[in-house]
Symmetry: C2
Subunit: 150 residues, 2 copies
DNA sequence: TACTGAGTTGGAGTGCACTCCAAGCAAGCC
DNA sequence: GGCTTGCTTGGAGTGCACTCCAACTCAGTA
């Protein structure tokens, strides 16, 4: 099966829809096949189906023959979820976030707290990585022409 | 059972021994109990024993009653291994690194390559985390008094 | 019409990195 | 002596996040 309706360049990983001008209005036409979305998002087709099964994604639209067709809203959510996942948020927390979002406007505060907590974790991880970078630089220097220590 | 011989302030997490003045000479006296090392390194006692079992650590010295007594060399290696682990290196790769180190001086190049590869990964992760930080800032701003998008 | 390739499902399986368990031993304290 | 605490072991168990499987359907092409 070839591309579904209109390919339209997919660039999920930059997550632009989340913090730039979202454009006129997100196109809710279901048109991306699962393999397209997999390629664009970096998530495997297994993972995409699994995310839907556990409720991270609302049930995706189907073609007349029952195949999934993702719309741009799905892509936006996947891009964001992918980022959360990539930066170490457990799937259970992602699910909590999504369920809050589904519950409506009155959960905005809870969602905010969840993201703030994650931001703290992200900052901590950046600090850890930077510290390790220094150690690695030192060791690599050592190995570039000297003896080793441990 | 109290502290073993001499407590001596343990500060593993800064990994100072690896990239600062290592001091006169690392004290090879076996004196730290497993729980002390666990507290100082952030690794559980389970993990410490497991690391030893799989060969990440050479067999640790024992007290006359058979309990482990870690020396400063062990601590230094654990500090470094802990950093590698914390920054996402798989245990299998850590093991490869340790085995290279055990094999002698002629493996310096291999060790260096391993660390260089890991450094690249670390840099990539830092970039990912920074990008996500921007998205989180944006979303949190949104949640601090407006509507949401996804 | 036959074949190929991409998709579907529920449920089972995998890999990693721990994490825990039961049973036992040794040391220190009341 | 009895109790508590900390340690020992091999092996089993756990949790997470996928990842794969078998059996199937459907659409498109030769």
């Amino acid at each position: 099966m070839a591309t579904a309706v209109q390919p339209a360049p997919l660039s999920l990983l930059d997550c632009s829809e989340a913090y730039q001008d979202p454009g006129p209005v997100p196109d809710r036409t279901p048109r991306h096949t699962i393999s397209e979305v997999s390629a664009a998002s970096g998530l495997s087709v297994h993972t995409l189906r699994w995310y839907e099964r556990i409720g991270l994604l609302d049930p995706v639209d189907r073609s007349h023959s029952g195949q999934r067709r993702y719309n741009d809203g799905d892509l936006a959510r996947l891009a964001f979820l992918g980022r959360l996942r990539l930066t170490g948020m457990p799937v259970a927390d992602m699910l909590r976030y999504v369920e809050l979002a589904r519950a409506g406007e009155h959960t905005v505060q809870g969602r905010r707290e969840l993201l703030v907590a994650h931001r703290e974790e992200v900052r901590q991880r950046i600090a850890d990585l930077h510290a390790t970078l220094a150690v690695l630089d030192y060791k690599i220097d050592l190995y570039s022409g000297k003896k080793q220590t441990s």
